[in-house]
């Protein structure tokens, strides 16, 4: 038997892990909040315009290096545009891509996964087939092809990633739904005469939501990285929009002699993704979804 000795709220498995977990979680939230703040109000605070070029002031190093210039905290890029302003503007693009992709892919994946997991049989066969097919499609290549064929643009990148990255949502939603479906409370709701939408939305969804939240953070991080990779290859966000991946791509010609042009956006990208992953990890610990990959 496994009844707890007393009535108490479920607690994390051991004290140590929860402390680390919460510290990471807090750091993650701080990072994401900071980037979000930068995305929303950053360009109002940074006096420079991310698009204005100043050929006289090209490739000025950031403030901690010799030869830096007062007005440009993080220096300037190869066209003399203020790097801080571009970085801050890039945050907006990254977050926008991350969030929109998660929304699109989440809608597709969760719908498919929940339906397949709940109804089983033919429906599930179809969902499984869709997942397998999706998994066997090489994402980067197809995303590149779509963007390459239809012309680059922010909206198209979001749509493409959203349509491609739903697999993990579907897999997790399906697996957890299958577990939850076998719980007696679902049977009980069925026996109580509850309608199908009620069962799916009120009984199943809330109980798989924690797992899905973790997936959402993973997918968001992945989408941001993928956009950066596409932009790096020149088929993502079109210039002069300062996507971080594009900033690295544009800066790599200068990386030998002005290394900060790739260091700054690279670190920013890594820190944001790290922050999102930390949030995901924290969620996983908090919600006890450790078994998820």
């Amino acid at each position: 038997m496994s009844e707890p000795i007393a009535i108490q709220a479920p607690q994390p498995s051991s004290t140590g892990s929860s402390r680390i977990g919460t510290a990471g979680f807090a750091i993650g939230i701080a990072i994401v909040a900071l980037v979000a703040a930068a995305a929303v109000v950053g360009n109002a605070l940074v006096p420079q315009d991310p698009f204005i070029q100043d050929l006289g002031n090209r490739l000025k190093p950031p403030f901690w290096m010799e030869g830096s210039q007062a007005g440009h905290l993080l220096g300037t890029d190869q066209l003399g545009r203020d790097y801080l302003a571009r970085l801050v503007y890039g945050a907006r693009i990254s977050l926008l891509i991350g969030i929109m992709t998660v929304i699109t892919s989440g809608l597709i994946g969760i719908t498919l996964g929940v339906l397949g997991g709940f109804f089983g049989g033919r429906v599930d066969d179809f969902v499984l087939f869709a997942i397998t097919t999706r998994l066997s499609i090489p994402v980067v290549l197809v995303a590149l092809a779509v963007v390459g064929l239809m012309g680059s643009g922010l909206g198209l990148v979001v749509a493409t990633l959203g349509l491609l990255l739903w697999d993990r949502f579907a897999v997790v939603a399906r697996a957890t739904t299958m577990q939850v479906r076998n719980h007696d409370y679902v049977s009980a709701a069925w026996c109580a005469g509850a309608s199908m939408p009620h069962i799916l939305i009120r009984e199943i969804l809330p109980n798989i939501a924690s797992h899905l939240a973790v997936v959402a953070t993973l997918e968001m991080a992945l989408a941001i990285l993928l956009e950066a990779a596409l932009s790096f290859l020149g088929l993502g966000v079109p210039p002069p929009l300062p996507s971080w991946g594009l900033m690295i791509a544009e800066g790599k010609d200068y990386m030998f002699f002005s290394p900060w042009v790739i260091m700054i956006p690279g670190v920013a990208l890594a820190v944001l993704v790290l922050g999102i992953n930390l949030v995901g990890d924290g969620l996983r610990n908090l919600l006890g979804a450790e078994r998820l990959r």
């Binding site: 290549l141 092809a145 064929l149």
Partner: protein, 305 residues
């Protein structure tokens, strides 16, 4: 058993067919293929010539069936850009990508399994935290960026590794490391959680109650069980690596299928794009099947009823 494998194969073929259809439709996204092939300086007459020459004047379904039919027997047509048969091209370039994938996977396994075990055994200590942080950072670092940094540090400043190309085994080290980095976080975490789960399991308690030595408990009893998912995921991971090596191949000038795909996209070389998508998909399907079989071999619960 044979029936099940046959069933899986049938599903695999079905998936491949679907991917084929999607790949075909994908390349029609741009609208009029003939206009793209003819290039920007072509006249309307040129476009018409191209349309005829490439058979693009036939109804879509005819083109589709013609292509599928030939693709089934390994004939993917002629590359517009390379003026060579696509099958030839892929055959020449696949070994590079596969080598890269295998190097990446081996590196990933060699690094992630010990790390995962270490973290699991020292759960919640600074070692574990360090490993977790490492995997998280590894997950967060964009691979193209890591590639550039490695190139500068290992190739340029230290000068210990060749920078690009495929001449020797050393050429595969840097791309292998970058590629491994894409798989290490997942594999490490999987090993770690598998080990933690195994170490907390009833049968490990039994093993301890039997008075076995710690090494035997960890490396025989726990690892064997923790390794089962890792090993089977590894095959699938390889599939992802093959599909995800485009950026790495581009940066390191490895002329593998990933780069071929990217080049073909840039050059509107549709027969190659279609074929590369299809080949990567088939690879992935084959590897998942392999993963299932591996899994069954490793896990006695799946091997016998």
């Amino acid at each position: 058993m044979l029936r099940l494998i046959a069933r899986r194969l049938a599903i695999g073929v079905l998936v491949a067919l679907t991917v084929m259809t999607l790949a075909f439709l994908l390349t029609r996204l741009s609208g009029d293929l003939a206009v793209s092939i003819a290039g920007p300086s072509a006249t309307q007459a040129d476009v018409e010539i191209v349309r005829k020459a490439y058979g693009l004047d036939r109804p879509l379904y005819v083109q589709f069936f013609a292509w599928t039919g030939r693709a089934m027997v390994g004939d993917f047509g002629q590359s517009y850009f390379f003026k060579d048969s696509v099958a030839n091209l892929i055959q020449k370039r696949l070994p590079i990508t596969v080598t890269l994938g295998l190097v990446g996977l081996s590196l990933a396994l060699v690094i992630s399994i010990p790390l995962g075990i270490l973290a699991a055994l020292r759960e919640n200590t600074w070692v574990d935290r360090g490993v977790t942080l490492f995997t998280m950072v590894g997950q967060a670092v964009p691979s193209f960026w890591l590639a550039l940094i490695l190139m500068i540090v290992l190739g340029l400043q230290l000068g210990i590794l060749p920078i690009s190309g495929t001449g020797t085994w050393q050429h595969f080290v840097m791309p292998g490391i970058v590629l491994a980095f894409t798989a290490i976080p997942a594999l490490t975490r999987l090993t770690r959680s598998g080990m933690i789960e195994a170490m907390a399991s009833d049968y490990i308690r039994t093993a301890r109650a039997k008075g076995l030595s710690r090494a035997r408990i960890v490396f025989k009893h726990a690892l064997r069980n923790a390794a089962i998912p890792v090993v089977s995921i590894a095959a699938v991971q390889l599939g992802f690596m093959l599909g995800g090596s485009i950026v790495i191949e581009t940066v390191f000038a490895l002329h593998g299928v990933g780069y071929l795909g990217w080049e073909s996209i840039a050059k509107n070389d549709f027969p190659v794009v279609q074929a590369v998508v299809l080949v990567l998909a088939v690879f992935y399907i084959g590897l998942t099947l392999l993963a299932d079989i591996l899994n069954a071999l490793l896990d006695p619960r799946l091997r016998t009823g």
